[in-house]
Structures are given as C-alpha cells and as structure tokens.
Symmetry: C2
C-alpha cells in the first residue's frame, strides 16, 4: 500500500498508528507493509482551491503517485480529505487503484442508516470546496455543516498549537450538538485534529471518523491481498518469507 | 530522507512523530520530507543473529535501500538498533549515506562526559549481538548491561501487549538503578518499548534515547540540506515550492 502523505505530516503518522492498531498481529511480520511518501511540501491545497494562489498540487501528487508505483505500491491511500479534490490527477498518473476516503466515508454514512442528513466536522475549507456535498449526493444524502465555522477553525488551530484542550473538546461537542439539532444524527469527522478528540463528538451523535474508514479499508485490502494477490506478482521481496 | 522501517512498525511511527515534534514549523511546508518503507516482513533479525535460523535479512534490506534511493532518498536512516548489524550490506547497496544510530549514540554517550562505563537499556538480543560493545569501544568506552535481562524482556513483552504499565516502569527504573551501581551514570535506551517510558529511567541516571539521537541527526541533516543541497540536484519536485 502506497501512502500519499505529509498533508499534514501528523495525519500520516496517525493513519500509520491506526493501521498498526487495527491489524491482528502476534509479531512484526503480521503487520501491513506500507510505502509512505511523507511529503509536507505538496503545495497548499487551501491556497490553490480557495485563495486561487500558489502552485498547483496536481502535478506534485501525480509525481508522488508514480514514485510510489515504481517503489512497488499495489494500491494507494491518501490521509487528507481535501487533497481528494485531486483524485482524478492521481488516477490518471498510474493504473493501480486509489482508495477513495471521501467516497468510502459517504458509503459508511449511508450504511449507518440514520437519515439522509450527514453532519461534517471539519475545517471551513472542507465546506467551501464541497467535496462531501458531491460524494454524499451520489448516495442520495446531504452534507450539513455546523453554523459556527469560525469556532471550528479556532479549535483546529488550538489543537495544532496546544493539543486537545478542554476548550477545543467543548467546541467539537457543541458543533456535534448543533448538527443533531439540524437533523444530522450521523456525522463524519473530516479533519485529523478532530480525529484525536472524536470521543467529544461521540457523546452527541453517531460519529464516523474518515481516517478510521480509510484505516479499515487499508487493512481489508492488505488482508485480501494475503489470500489472493501476493503470489507470483510479488514485488516486495520479503513477502515470500511470510508463509 | 529514506527510512528503512517496519522493524518494528511502531518504532518507525514513533520516529516519524519525533521528527515532526523536533522540527521548528509554522506550517506543513516547514516539515521534513521522508520516504518510508514500512516493511514489517524483513526476516527476523533475532532469528538470524541469535537462533541462526530463518531467512537472511541482509538482501531484503539491500533491496529496500535501492528502492528508497530510486524513490529520491538522499540519505538513509533505520529506527532499529539491532538491524544496524546489517549496515555494511545497506552501505554496499547504494552510494547515499546511512545515518548510523548506534555509532552516533556512542558519540553522544562520550559527549555526556560521565565516565567510560555506559549502561545499555535494551532487549537481551542487544547484549548478545554486542553491537554497542563494538561502537562504544571505538570511543574508548565500555557497555554495561543490567543483571536481570529476564525482567527486561518481560517488561518489553508487557509494554507490547498491555502498554506502559507501572510494573514495566518499575522494571526499567530498577535496571537503570542497577546500572548506576555498576558505575554507568550515562545510559542508552536501545529499545523502542523503553523509549516511551524513558522518564522512568531518567529518575535514576543520565539517559540518552538512541531514537532521539537519530531524530536529532535527521533534523540536522535535513536543515543542512535546506541551505546547501536542495538546489540544482532537486529530485523531489515539490521542494522548489518552499522558497
């Protein structure tokens, strides 16, 4: 599994830790091999998408994609919801599949079965680019956003600089409560800063963390691979030592 | 920076988190780019070195090394002390430098300036392969080991399965205290499980975590690169967006 990472670097580390935690393992060799391009210098997605300035992230992501493929990746994952705006450029660069965190999270929200209004707990940028609106509409659902986006952005900045303070937790709980009032009993955490305090929102609603959705799919894909794929097409020399 | 990872996978994630924490950063783009081969299927170093069974890790590490070089790595680091036994095979595979965690840790112990006896807090395997004995002898120092290696191994297994329990912390503190009695005021943490509870040993002695030594050198190398290297020889397309 190739990881298009670094957006931000903490999200990539959190995904890797969750993949380890979600893998049934008695020994190192039971864990899932990953090739991770931790590239924090991908041009700012916010600048390009919202402010319309700076370099285009698409060709950088395409180059990373080709390098991961050349390094032996058989599939790709990207722990950054916003960057999924560039999924077409990534898919155009190589023939191996990109696991789509946004589309899979929309499906997970549908499966939760608590109505068509799905709350989105993320940065204001996530609302402005409309990524989840499109993905949820494909499943017949609607994205709902907390009214106080300024408070959410302030909480994200607090968590980045000071960690998960009680005040930041209170903001997330309040946003989740607001979304319930708006009719969204199921909510998606779409921001790594909120991933680490998702329990604060879980006291208010049925909360699905998009990073957990991606983690589950990576583990599922890798374990399917154990049974079907990693035979003759083995590019990772060491896999032959597993049996 | 290319990372020869997966030995074990948690150590690689911990190194990545520490590199992020040790990098002065105002934004994603200030962080250090890494290409990480998280390969938990490198054949067991313990089996090969101590039990004399299983596949040879050397060719797998050499193949990983070549892939990291091809993916754009300009230097290599490996968050596993034991695997440094195979440093010659890694160096023979490519022309880019391998940061030597064991040699650098020996130098850090020398610089600490508290005598020639250096305590080693690690698994029994670390004592048996004598890696630190050799590295410390080169600096005119001697490796000293806690008497109760069985307790250390039990503590490592406890931390792997149950986390950093008070009992595990007590074992590490007791080992550090034993080393002080043997004359080792400076001690090296040479095991990732003990990295997360190094403070328990720090109450007893002047403790240097080998993973911190590696972290510091990665950050130093990358920041030197900002000034000297990443100009015309730029292989990581996105770096040109940093200025």
């Amino acid at each position: 599994m190739g990881i298009l990472g670094g957006m931000g670097p903490e999200a990539t580390v959190l995904l890797m830790a969750r993949v380890i935690g979600a893998t049934p393992a008695r020994d190192d060799s039971d864990h899932i091999p990953l090739i991770v391009d931790q590239n924090p210098q991908v041009p700012s997605r916010i600048s390009a998408l919202i402010e319309g300035i700076g370099a285009d992230p698409a060709p950088v992501l395409a180059a990373m994609t080709r390098r991961l493929k050349d390094a032996g990746a058989e599939a790709l994952a990207m722990p950054c919801n916003t960057a999924h705006h560039y999924a077409p450029a990534i898919r155009a660069a190589v023939s191996i599949p990109l696991i789509d965190m946004v589309a899979l999270s929309a499906k997970a929200a549908l499966q939760a079965g608590h109505g068509a209004k799905i709350g989105i707990l993320g940065s204001p940028a996530i609302q402005r680019i409309g990524l989840f609106d499109t993905a949820l509409e494909k499943e017949g659902m609607t994205a709902i956003y907390p009214a106080d986006q300024t408070a959410l952005l302030a909480a994200i900045r607090t968590i980045k600089s000071e960690g998960a303070t009680p005040a930041a937790r209170a903001v997330l709980a309040s946003a989740a409560s607001d979304l319930v009032r708006q009719g969204a009993a199921v909510q998606l955490v779409a921001c790594t800063e909120f991933s680490v305090i998702a329990d604060a929102a879980r006291e208010e609603a049925d909360v699905i963390d998009t990073l957990d959705v991606l983690t589950t799919e990576i583990v599922r894909f890798a374990r399917r691979g154990d049974q079907q794929c990693f035979g003759g097409q083995n590019t990772h020399e060491s896999r032959s030592n597993r049996s």
